[in-house]
Symmetry: C2
Subunit: 330 residues, 2 copies
DNA sequence: GTGAAAGCGCTAACAC
DNA sequence: GTGTTAGCGCTTTCAC
């Protein structure tokens, strides 16, 4: 049978209160009493029941993370950073995968906010802030990660998207490109919107061909870049900007297969995944943009812990910056 | 304030028992009572408290997964498959990252087994089965994943490692290689041991150079392959077998940098990560071994659910097979 | 077809 | 310096 705190108390000849205070260091207990308690605990092999404890205290010591795509290296690395931060503070991480599906996100948020976690990290795939907002109980600690909304209701950690894309277009123009295409992520996401608007502005500023057909959207999942590339090539692109790591590697493979040489037949700039070996071989043929994923994860972890332990603090927003890496000079 | 089941009962004019039975469909409730209950729930915005529920029932509806390296694509894909399976059955996934550190594994197992989860999936980094075994409360549902032990105490899902490595060596020999090196993973892991023993046997069977200096071990983390490769090249290897995906991509990059041509200057076979674009460009220059990661994750999820819901079933062992992909004929 | 009430294991307020 | 005890929100047995 399960051994409870009263078994320990009985064997140690003390009250349950003393046992509780001993193991939690929550009030003074004399050395000799402590020893008796620990001896009893050891003898019985007692472990405090975590669910009784969270029930009683209302603290679960867990944080939920709503992720759009676990198997994506960008989020995998982020999850790792989040977990490292949380476990250092005695918290556990519960993962929910949405596969960029708003319905799944909806269901998961409800489930996790209903007493399973103390707080929620959300990299949302929703277009509509109100739809997301409605799912969250008043006062429940939430931090938005990577994808944010105009409404500044929740704390957020994200990466600035405007500058690197603007610069990409300018650099491609500087290399002589005239018709620059762009492959964005899901159109409904804030990050995509920001990137596309940077693209438009740079195209205008640099006096390049302004053509809606040059703007394509993928879904950042497997095999979504290919059709975009087909379309862009029929538009006679001489430069391409890709907004996401997985689609970047698909682009490189596509060019390879078609015998199109990067940096010669076509110029490429792309967001790439941090620490993915794939890109190491192409850094002399294309510019890359690297997001500070680990920092994103760490900051998200720190923020949600703050909100959990101190819910009254004002909303906090952090915008990190990506590293723009011009191609290596050969 | 928090709305509880008694608030609902009061407003609906019924007992808490009826509310509970209504929302759980656990005994007959008349249509009109049901309606009253649901109306009250809606009016008050009631959500049953998950931790009270798990406390009461003893069921947490969560499974813990002890993972050696979350950011590794192999495990990322596996986690995704596990999560998909669990969430389809109303379970949540709690992730703990060990970074191949036995102490972290020890701590995490204790934490997760102490009332946080209904069961545990473990891809262990331990060498010693007893050390692992001691951490697990009697009767606690556990399924070992990917890395197993000789003691058949727990159910397990793994991939056979012998045959693909044996075949690798034979194929390289068939291409004329005489001095075949191998880069294994962490020496303490069952998977590594199995692979190295397959290598040894094939080397003997094919009459190749049998030289301990040709056997190197990496740790499957970033930048662990390089020093192994340096050593193997000074041994005048003409064929190399790499036992892990991340180290495989490092090997390819290494060869690139040194100007060593795969399939010409040196022959290569490697375990590669499922669905990683990186390898797509090299399938005509090397043989690849692809493990059924998704199936591994799915099977692990299914198995742990079975053990949770039916703990008396006998121990179950499943061994999946990897796909050996000879290089593409050009 | 429904209600009353016990009690899961723990923490913490109050009492001494 | 330690003990007594109420009660967290829910499920479930027993009773009618």
């Amino acid at each position: 049978m399960k051994v409870t705190i009263s078994d320990v108390a009985k064997l140690a000849g003390v009250s349950t209160a003393t046992v509780s205070h001993t193991i939690n260091s929550t009030r003074y207990v004399s050395e000799e009493t402590k020893e008796k308690v620990y001896a009893a605990i050891k003898e019985l092999g007692y472990t405090p029941d975590a669910s009784a404890r969270s029930f009683r205290t209302g603290k679960k010591k867990t944080v939920g993370f709503i992720v759009p795509d676990i198997s994506n290296k960008f989020f995998g690395t982020m999850i790792e950073a989040v977990e490292t931060c949380l476990s250092a503070h005695g918290y556990h991480l519960i993962i929910a995968n949405t596969k960029e599906n708003p319905e799944r996100e909806e269901k998961n948020i409800q489930l996790l906010a209903a007493g399973l976690c103390d707080g929620l990290l959300i990299a949302s795939t929703m277009e509509d802030f109100d739809r997301l907002d409605r799912l969250i109980p008043a006062g429940f600690p939430v931090v938005l990660v990577d994808r944010v909304f105009d409404a500044k209701k929740y704390s957020s950690i994200c990466v600035s998207n405007f500058q690197p894309i603007y610069r990409s277009v300018c650099r491609l123009a500087g290399m002589g490109a005239k018709r620059i295409g762009i492959i964005g992520g899901l159109p409904r996401l804030s990050s995509t919107a920001e990137r596309i608007s940077a693209y438009r502005q740079a195209v205008a500023d640099c006096g390049l061909d302004n053509d809606e057909a040059l703007i394509r959207y993928g879904d950042s999942m497997e095999n979504s870049a290919q059709s975009c590339l087909d379309e862009l090539l029929t538009q006679n692109c001489d430069g391409i900007v890709v907004c996401q790591g997985l689609m970047a590697s698909e682009t490189i493979i596509y060019m390879h297969r078609k015998g199109i040489r990067l940096g010669e037949d076509i110029e490429l700039v792309s967001f790439v995944d941090y620490d993915d070996n794939f890109y190491r071989l192409y850094t002399n043929q294309m510019d890359t943009i690297v997001q500070p994923v680990e920092e994103l994860g760490r900051a998200a972890g720190e923020q949600i812990l703050r909100r959990i332990e101190n819910p009254e603090e004002p909303v906090f927003e952090k915008v990190l910056t990506s590293a723009y890496r011009p191609r290596d000079m050969v």
